[in-house]
Amino acid sequence: MSLFTLLRLAFRVIARNKARAMLTVLGIVIGVAAVIAMVALGTGAQQNIAKQIASLGSNLIILIPGTTNVAGVRGGGGSSTTVDVDDIEALRREVKSISLIAPANRQQVQIVAGDANWGTTVQGTTPAFYTVRDWGVENGAPHSDLDEASMNKVCVLGKTVATELFGTDDPVDKWVRIKKVPFRVIGVLVAKGQSPMGTDQDDTVLIPFSVYRQRMAGTQRDQIQAAYAAAIDANSAQAAVDDMTAVLRQRHHLRESAEDDFSIRNLADIAAASREVSESMTLLLGSIAGVSLLVGGIGIMNTMLVSVTERTREIGIRMAVGAKARDILVQFLVEAVVLSAIGGAIGVAFGWWVARLLSDTTGWVTVFDPGIAALAFAVSGAVGVFFGFWPARRAARLDPIDALRYE
């Protein structure tokens, strides 16, 4: 029998019992859809993470006081008070494996420009910040060492803040008020987008560290909430972390057995942490997919067994007019494969639809991989072969006379 004839026959048989076919392939549909959605989201997430990590700046090392959480960075930060300005000064002086270090203290404020008013995060930091975070100023200029020394009340707006306060107008040389203190806008930061933790990095205002200490920090003038350092090169990142740790432990008089009262992370750690998250996600969805495919396969086996029993007489008739065992085997195998391939095709479409829906509602990036779609489709076909084989062989092994006599 030609493949075309076999396929036509299989489709006709399946079409006779559409409801049963749909229920049968449900497991395959879910399994394949899970794979497709998983890969679409996973690929998108990985691209995103890579981009965001790059956005943090090259050779970046992050220091925060207190013990650490998994990712090594905190959104709010600064709850512990174990690191002070003198520590930063000591690190700058003593650690040769870092080229720059910039403290960054922050708080939530209302920023006002004329009638406009926006809640954002003000960060007090030194000019090293721009280099360490690899963060350019697209309009105007970053603040300078002179601004630090003279405690000039100048500020650089993040893209989001600039847009919220000034719309399309040029904010440079305009005035804004932060906690009632007037600041002159001297620049606007290049847009960076989301951080790996999902916060909008452009929703911020930078002011000189000296001004922050004097006008914003209140009683906590000497405490450091975070500091960003740059290793002298990418290969020195781990050495820099070790050197900084040693200096701080000594300054904090920590005993050998004591834990660090601060945490220092380099980009590799952060990247690994986010990879871990996305890998466990992949594993979870992958096992859902695997179990669904297994259940789907068993569903197909069950349906095919029922079908073989129901059609015993048909098998007998076919054998009586000359069908060989192989002809019967192939017929039922093709039917099982067509069934599971239908499930696979629906699964690919459904999975992509789910990924699109998620991306539309959550803003996550999804990437459709035709190679994976083809693979998932092929795997569902293979499931059909694997789980359809036993029922098909049962059909093929029937004796013509027994099959014909079957009631």
């Binding site: 029998m1 030609s2 004839t5 006779r16 007489r313 048909e314 007998g316 008739i317 076919r318 054998m319 009586a320 007019v321 000359g322 069908a323 060989k324 065992a325 192989r326 002809d327 004796d399 013509p400 006379i401 014909l404």
Partner: protein
């Protein structure tokens, strides 16, 4: 008529071991059927007629004895070769038609050709020819449930003939049909035998149907108890040339 018999059985037996006591359905049947014969197999219900037909048609395997088809000992055949014999050499017609449901007359008739590896076009042509031959040229697209019993049996006959077998086996082909339809089917068999040289072996329990044949083989409890031309006293359901000739000769 060739020297080699189309059917040649020696001590053919079938014993069913199901139940407490084994049932001997066919006991030691030695029989030869030659090319061009028209044989009626008769006997009471349960006498072993169907068992005999199923063995000849290679649907079942004997317990003992030898079966040769066209001189070939079928015990030597592999299951694939048996399938090929069913496909090419033998056409089987059942009492219950055994057509595929929800499958058109045309496709039912094409079935043996499908397994013979015949291409779609040639298949359709041969099936149309066979259906026309049995007088169903107008109903090729009909499903079995849209056809009368007689029409369904004619589809089954077309299916049995489509691969141009030398041997037509029919197990009570008219058992489910009324007398008018029975006569139509019998005319078809006589035509196939007389004009196409097909050997016919037909099971029946009706005297006037058996009387159509040239030779009657009677079974009883699995044995052949009578073998010869139908008695003159039996009136055939349809006119047959060999009987007409006899009547003429006698006049």
């Amino acid at each position: 008529m060739s020297d080699t018999p189309v059917i040649d059985t020696v001590g053919l037996s079938k014993v069913y071991a199901t139940g407490d006591t084994p049932v001997v359905a066919l006991a030691d049947v030695t029989l030869q059927v030659h090319r061009g014969e028209f044989v009626a197999v008769v006997g009471a219900s349960g006498s072993g007629k169907s068992t005999f037909m199923n063995l000849i048609g290679l649907l079942d395997r004997p317990s003992h004895g030898v079966l040769r088809l066209d001189g070939v000992d079928v015990a030597r055949l592999t299951s694939n070769q048996r399938a090929m014999v069913r496909n090419h050499k033998v056409g089987f017609v059942f009492q219950g038609f055994n057509l595929l449901r929800r499958t058109s007359a045309m496709e039912n008739v094409e079935l043996p050709l499908l397994y013979a590896g015949v291409g779609a076009r040639a298949r359709a042509q041969a099936a149309a020819t066979a259906l026309t031959q049995v007088g169903l040229g107008e109903r090729m697209g009909h499903m079995p449930n849209q056809l009368s019993g007689g029409q369904q049996q004619r589809v089954a006959i077309a299916r049995a003939l489509v691969n141009q077998p030398a041997l037509l086996l029919a197990d009570e082909p008219t058992g489910n049909l009324d007398s008018t339809t029975t006569r139509e089917i019998l005319k078809l068999f006589v035509d196939l035998n007389v004009n196409h040289g097909i050997t016919v072996v037909m099971v029946t329990h009706e005297q006037d149907v058996a009387a159509v044949s040239r030779r009657v083989v009677q079974f009883k409890d699995g044995h052949v108890v009578m073998d010869g031309p139908p008695p003159e006293t039996w009136t055939p359901a349809v006119e047959v040339p060999w009987r007409a000739a006899k009547v003429q000769g006698a006049a």
